[in-house]
Symmetry: C2
Subunit: 197 residues, 2 copies
């Protein structure tokens, strides 16, 4: 049976982790991004559908293209961060089910192709994968700056042309400047957010 991780690990993942608004020059290497993928890819999704798709924007040209499609407040963050990953989800993910669920791939493929099912499944599970990415990046010692403030349709056209991949959110990755973190906002109490039944 597993035991709770040490307090320092819980702090790094959740309690002390913060969203920076500016980034140091320290680079994030390709090896780190591949290690990150190889970590969060194991997170659970419905029938292992794994619908999320990623564009790891790290070139100056890529940052310029992405930042031009973001809200004003988010542009300098994208330009400053060593990497900003676009998290999308592929509405054609049912095509991958024979690979991802060999024992029942054909059946799952048919199930997910029902009207409306692919869309809801892609959004729900692609978002779960985006959250796994955030927590896994923190587990590897990176800071994360997730953002929704950008033109989704324009990003889809620019970064996912000729596909049925839809952008969901974007996330800066790197090492944040501590002084760029805002004061922490409160959270709902256990009782405000839920109840026992």
């Amino acid at each position: 049976m597993a035991h709770p991780l040490p307090a320092a690990a819980l702090d790094q993942l959740f309690c002390s982790a913060r969203t920076p608004n500016d980034w140091t020059d320290e680079p994030v290497g390709e090896d780190t991004l591949r290690a990150l993928y190889d970590l969060f890819k194991w997170g659970p999704t419905s029938a292992n559908a794994s619908p999320a798709r990623f564009v790891w924007v790290r070139s100056e040209e890529g940052k310029t293209r992405l930042s031009a499609l973001a809200m004003d407040a988010n542009r300098p963050k994208i330009l400053a961060a060593p990497v900003t990953v676009i998290i999308g989800h592929d509405l054609d993910f049912p095509d991958t089910m024979p690979k991802l669920f060999p024992a029942r791939g054909e059946m799952m493929q048919q199930y997910f192709k029902q009207p409306g099912v692919a869309e809801a499944t892609a959004m729900r599970n692609g978002t779960l994968q985006g959250a796994y990415l955030i927590v896994a990046a923190r587990a590897l010692g990176l800071d994360c700056g997730p953002m929704s403030g950008f033109d989704n349709a324009a990003v889809d056209k620019e970064f996912f042309p000729g596909t049925r991949i839809q952008s969901n959110f974007i996330c800066c990755l790197g090492h944040g400047k501590p002084e760029s973190v805002w004061p922490r906002n409160p959270r709902l109490t256990f009782e405000e957010a839920g109840r026992f039944a």
Copy 2:
């Protein structure tokens, strides 16, 4: 600067963690569920909107009501697990913005109340919080069994009556029977799931 967590911690969170299909009798105490909430509540959401809402189903009566609304294959899991949490999101979450983002609460409240914005924001960020819950539970040594196979509309009526909270997914929490884990399915490669730009 943070360093990568030890390999054993990464294993517990992602690489070795698996979804059990049956559960031991070992209980999960209220203190553990409160510690779990106090951990994952810190995960980032858009403007700290924190739209997820939770029903922690642990009574025999609650399990019976929930299992009756689940797919056949999921009923015995809900009845066997010590806790199954219903993760929903509140379309009225903008009302909480003055508490959750004191510096700009009124402004964010108006922003999120625009048509379509509350729905997309609640689904995206409520799902992120559901994933934080999963990874945080593993960090505390619990196993997770997330499931989408249930009647969402019926669960909303049964567990969230008189609210605008919509169920998203449910997740068994406890200690899984190791022999109930299925063989691990493959994942997409880095290149199949994304690219650099």
